[in-house]
């Protein structure tokens, strides 16, 4: 099993990159301290430095992203106009990774000069403080989430994230191509990052490309194919919640495959049990079709249906009736 990993830090510039990928939802602008864009953010939390600016330095979480909302900016302006800039100077003595000003506010030149001098980047977002905090918290939790990397493929079938695992050459990529052709969505070929994310009801796993060069897939005998060019942008997704693991295995006549589907098998990933199906591969078996049915079966399972149990009830009832007739 792959080992559990976690990012220790991200560069401040990563935030700008993410903003660009999200169509400038934050609309980040660098106001000052541009020389510090390669500083590390090591902590997935934010801090509002009201107490620090008012002179109370104890427990100042200086390693966090500092958010300057309307209150903080108004207070800074007041401190400057009252000529009481000591707290601002003290604030900038800390090794702060980045300050982010919300509501598209401007900040006094005095503060910008300090930021430049200390190479502490100051970014501005057009978002309101509460919206910004909600957005950045989600982004940081995602970036700093625990993850494992699998050698396998990831597709979305009926909104269920399906990770396809199996030895090299068993036909994982070919299966993915078959699934995309059947209308399902490509997420990653060959390497998958599975992240553990917090949700209101606990945790869930999310699968995404390990490195996002784009939707490329390698098919033996054909070469590399760009899935969105060949099948359309609509057949590609950036991520999906992991709902099913499919292990493709070589067909063996002496192996007892699950023939009923009455008992669920699970694979434990990052402490969560994910439904798992072992699908034996042999010539004449349409593997994309089988994976699609396995995913549909997972949809039905969530709705409480199980064909094997249904048949079982009918057979037992039938046998009972026969006995009563005798």
């Amino acid at each position: 099993m792959a080992e559990e990993l976690k990012l220790k830090s991200i560069k401040v510039s990563k935030l700008l990159e993410i903003d660009e990928n999200q169509n400038f939802l934050m609309g980040f602008e660098v106001l000052a301290g541009g020389a510090g864009l390669d500083k590390d953010i090591t902590c997935p939390e934010i801090n509002r430095p009201g107490l620090t600016l008012s002179g109370f330095m104890e427990h100042f979480a200086s390693e966090r992203i500092q958010v300057l909302g309307r209150g903080e900016v108004a207070y800074i302006e007041k401190l400057i106009s009252d000529n009481e800039t000591e707290n601002i100077e003290n604030f900038f003595k800390y090794d702060i990774p980045v300050c982010i000003v919300t509501h598209g506010q401007s900040i006094p030149q005095y503060v910008m000069d300090f930021a430049d001098m200390r190479s502490i980047p100051v970014l501005r977002t057009k978002q309101s403080t509460e919206k910004f905090i909600a957005l950045i918290t989600t982004i940081l939790e995602d970036l700093f989430a625990s993850y494992v990397v699998f050698h396998g493929n990831f597709v979305s079938i009926y909104n269920i994230g399906v990770m396809i695992l199996g030895p090299s050459g068993i036909g994982k990529s070919e299966s993915v191509l078959g699934l995309v052709e059947r209308g399902h969505k490509f997420i990653s070929d060959d390497m998958v990052r599975v992240k553990k994310l917090r949700t209101p009801s606990g945790f869930e796993l999310k699968g995404e490309p390990y490195v996002d060069y784009g939707p490329y897939i390698e098919i033996r005998g054909i070469g590399i194919i760009n899935v969105s060019q060949y099948y359309g942008e609509g057949r590609v997704l950036n991520f999906e919640h992991l709902g099913l693991v499919v292990n493709l295995i070589e067909w063996r006549s002496d192996y007892n495959y699950d023939r009923l589907g009455m008992e669920e098998k699970y694979q434990n990933i990052l402490g969560l049990d994910i439904p798992m199906k072992e699908i034996p591969v042999s010539s004449g078996r349409n593997v994309p079709l089988l994976i699609e049915v396995a995913a549909y079966r997972e949809v039905m399972r969530r709705l409480g249906y199980n064909s094997a149990e249904e048949l079982e009830r009918k057979v037992i009832n039938f046998m009972k009736k026969e006995r009563e007739l005798e």
């Binding site: 023939r259 009455m262 046998m319």
Partner: protein, 89 residues
């Protein structure tokens, strides 16, 4: 070809789980294995075939095997049905 008569003796008869056990047991042999109940004849390696029999408790079935490992196959199936009772009551 060899044959043996066995009596289903577990409470719920040849329902899905026992059928799966029986089909898996039969599949481990290369012999062709058939089961007959009251004139209905089915392939012992197929779960869906076995369920068609609807063989309840007390039913006598005739198991026949044809092939190089026919004796072993019949003994394994007899043992599963009569002695292990499909690991059920």
């Amino acid at each position: 070809m060899k044959q043996v008569s066995v009596t289903i003796s577990n409470e719920y008869g040849l329902h899905a789980r026992p059928a799966s056990l029986l089909a898996n047991t039969a599949s481990q042999f290369t012999s062709e294995i058939r089961i007959v109940k009251e004139g209905k004849e089915v392939n012992a390696k197929s779960i869906m075939n076995l369920l068609l029999l609807a063989a309840g408790k007390g039913t006598v079935i005739l198991v026949s095997a044809d092939g190089s490992d026919e004796s072993d196959a019949l003994e394994a199936i007899r043992f599963l049905i009569e002695e292990r009772k499909f690991d059920e009551k």
